[in-house]
């Protein structure tokens, strides 16, 4: 492990290259410009393909092609660009192709702004494009965690043949922190892809498709996909808990807000307020069970997001009336201070 000071966007790019990334396709957008530029500089030198596409739509379809050809492929963008990619992501999901998509979220809807926001939670975790599908969604709250989750994203995506998304924002993307970069993977560590289109030599032809005109056939494809999702829900839920043992109020927050909420827990404890934090690391699959178990022991489950209340819906589904479930959110790229959130916490304790 080598420890270096890196910007989030660059750490994600370097971690991807060290994870055996072969093809990266992109379209420029802030606040993930450094990721694109790092790839342009580094990936070709290290045997990979960097290509700036004519649009986000083309970039995701290039990922579709490269992933179909059996290599590790990735694209990255920010909210409006990710919206454009939804068509391709839906095809990739049904065609069962592994790949990694990075979304450095920004304020929205529309053009919004480039400040940190978490308004793409629904889009990321509930499908996003058309049809019944999910992405594996990983939400880092620090730069080192972002690098770690990039490796995990490639591994999980390969294991389940489901596309994986890194969901963060400009705060994580632009911030510099010491990072322990993952060791480069050896080619033999990347799983075989017997289904890939590599030329039908000595085997029957392989076909990559998301399509079956016969309802029964399409139902079968869909059920297989759903079975994989159930397996992922059983095996891959990840979260972090901070001071939850004796907590009377539980904060649920992820990514940038999860990081700020850790400070809130510390400040609250200094005042003798028993606050704990559950930080989902996988947004899909969402940690319903851990939230539910903690909801049995606390009086309040406070969801804090940089949105109008998106993850809040999943929290309420998990809690199901076991505790009160207030919400505090900020919009437009405004990032609340720990003290502001602490004010919110005080409303529900004592």
């Amino acid at each position: 492990m080598s420890r270096v000071l890196m910007r989030g966007n660059e750490a994600i790019a370097e971690a991807a290259i060290r994870s055996g990334l072969k093809c990266y396709f992109c379209y420029p957008i802030t606040p993930q410009g450094e990721l694109v530029e790092y790839m342009a500089r580094e990936l070709p030198k290290r045997g990979g393909v960097f290509l700036q596409a004519e649009s986000e739509v083309a970039a995701i379809n290039m990922v579709y092609g490269a992933a179909a050809a059996g290599v590790r492929a990735m694209t990255s963008s920010s909210s409006p660009g990710i919206s454009l990619k939804q068509e391709g992501i839906s095809y990739i999901a049904m065609a069962r192709l592994p790949c990694v998509i990075v979304n450095m979220m920004r304020g929205g809807p529309g053009l919004g702004n480039i400040a940190p926001a978490q308004g793409d939670y629904f889009q990321a975790t509930k499908g996003g494009g058309h049809g019944d599908y999910h992405l594996i969604v990983l939400a880092p709250s620090t730069v080192p965690e972002a690098a770690e989750l990039v490796r995990l994203a490639f591994e999980l995506s390969d294991r389940y043949r489901v596309p994986a998304m890194i969901l963060a924002d400009g705060m994580i993307g632009q911030m510099m922190e010491p990072v322990e970069l993952p060791e480069p993977v050896e080619p033999e560590d990347i799983p075989e892809r017997p289904w890939a289109v590599t030329g039908a030599k000595g085997r029957p032809k392989n076909v990559i498709t998301s399509f079956d005109l016969e309802p029964e056939g399409l139902k079968e494809m869909s059920l297989a996909l759903q079975e994989t999702y159930r397996e992922i829900e059983r095996n891959e839920v990840r979260w972090e808990e901070v001071e939850t043992e004796d907590a009377e109020l539980l904060i649920v927050a992820y990514g940038t807000m999860g990081r700020i909420a850790k400070t809130v827990v510390r400040l609250a404890r200094q005042e003798g307020i028993k606050v704990g934090l559950l930080r989902p690391i996988t947004l899909w699959p969402f940690p319903y069970e851990p939230v539910r178990e903690l909801a049995e022991r606390v009086r309040t489950v406070l969801t804090v997001e940089l949105s109008a209340g998106q993850m809040w819906e999943d929290v309420r589904l998990a809690v199901e009336g076991r505790a009160e479930t207030p919400f505090y959110g900020e919009l437009g790229g405004v990032v609340p201070s720990p003290k502001r959130i602490l004010e919110e916490v005080r409303k529900y304790v004592g």
């Binding site: 072969k22 093809c23 396709f25 393909v49 290509l51 596409a53 004519e54 649009s55 739509v57 083309a58 970039a59 379809n61 290039m62 990922v63 579709y64 092609g65 490269a66 992933a67 179909a68 050809a69 059996g70 290599v71 492929a73 068509e87 391709g88 095809y91 065609a95 289109v197 590599t198 030329g199 039908a200 030599k201 000595g202 032809k205 392989n206 076909v207 990559i208 498709t209 998301s210 399509f211």
Partner: protein, 255 residues
């Protein structure tokens, strides 16, 4: 794969299905030129001996079932995105021979950007562009290539260029770019033209094998079903009317 029947004594086999084609039945309407064009592509793959390293990309439209007809690896692309998907495959594995097979709605309307930019990058791929002037699969709506005055289900009074735009000559547009190696327009309404179209398809694949870059063969095709014509009438319509708007021949050839 097909099972070859024994040839009785005294008979000579003069015609057979290309090895690149499977036994699956075509889903094209009777009399449609897609059948001829699909076969020409298969013959070219046979003659060049590249079946085991070829990957085809099927579009959305009448050729959406193309993967069933061929014995090579296939990827089904979203509407219009075939050239972007082909780019991804070819860049990932340059040793593969990659071709797309797209209609005019797919390539020249919704996929115009992907087509233009793949051509402009000189992607080393082969594009078969089947132009029949309508959206065949969805019921005969106006395409960007529909002739002025031509009646379609979305231009019931005929295409009025000042309202609906002019026929989009995308091959002429692509021929202006520095990226492409070979842009040609062919037809298959009679034997003479079928032979020429076949030579163009062979050349477009050979260019890729020689690393020359983006090669596109536009083939004027018929849609008897949506044109409300018999196959014979439809072929004659191409020969007499369509070629006047879309003249045949090479538009660009770097040699």
């Amino acid at each position: 794969m097909s099972v070859e029947a024994a040839i009785p004594e005294g008979y000579v086999k003069v015609f057979s299905k290309p090895k690149a084609l499977s036994d699956a039945k075509y889903t094209y309407c009777p009399g449609c030129h897609h059948g001829i064009i699909t076969r020409l592509v298969a013959e070219a793959i046979d003659e060049l001996g590249i079946l085991e390293r070829t990957v085809g990309i099927s579009p959305v439209g009448c050729a959406v079932f193309l993967d069933r007809f061929f014995n090579c690896d296939f990827v089904q692309a979203a509407h219009g995105r075939a050239c972007a998907v082909a780019t991804g495959i070819k860049r990932a594995r340059p040793d593969l021979v990659v071709f797309t097979y797209q209609g005019d709605g797919d390539l020249a309307a919704i996929g115009a950007a992907e087509t233009v930019h793949a051509a402009n990058r000189g992607e080393n791929i082969t594009v078969i562009f089947v132009n029949n002037g309508v959206y065949g699969m969805t019921g005969g709506e106006m395409a960007p290539t529909t002739l002025p005055g031509q009646r379609t289900t979305t231009t019931p009074l005929g295409r009025e260029p000042r309202l609906h735009g002019y026929p989009l000559k995308i091959s002429e547009m692509l021929a202006q770019l520095e990226g492409p190696a070979y842009i040609t327009r062919q037809a298959v309404f009679d034997y003479r033209h079928i032979v020429r179209a076949k030579q163009a398809i062979l050349k477009a694949f050979r260019n890729q094998l020689e690393g020359k870059g983006f090669s596109l063969v536009e083939i004027l095709s018929t849609c008897p079903t949506n044109w409300r014509m018999t196959p014979v009438e439809a072929g004659r319509w191409v020969a007499e009317h369509v070629v006047k708007v879309y003249p045949l021949g090479d538009l660009k050839d770097v040699g």
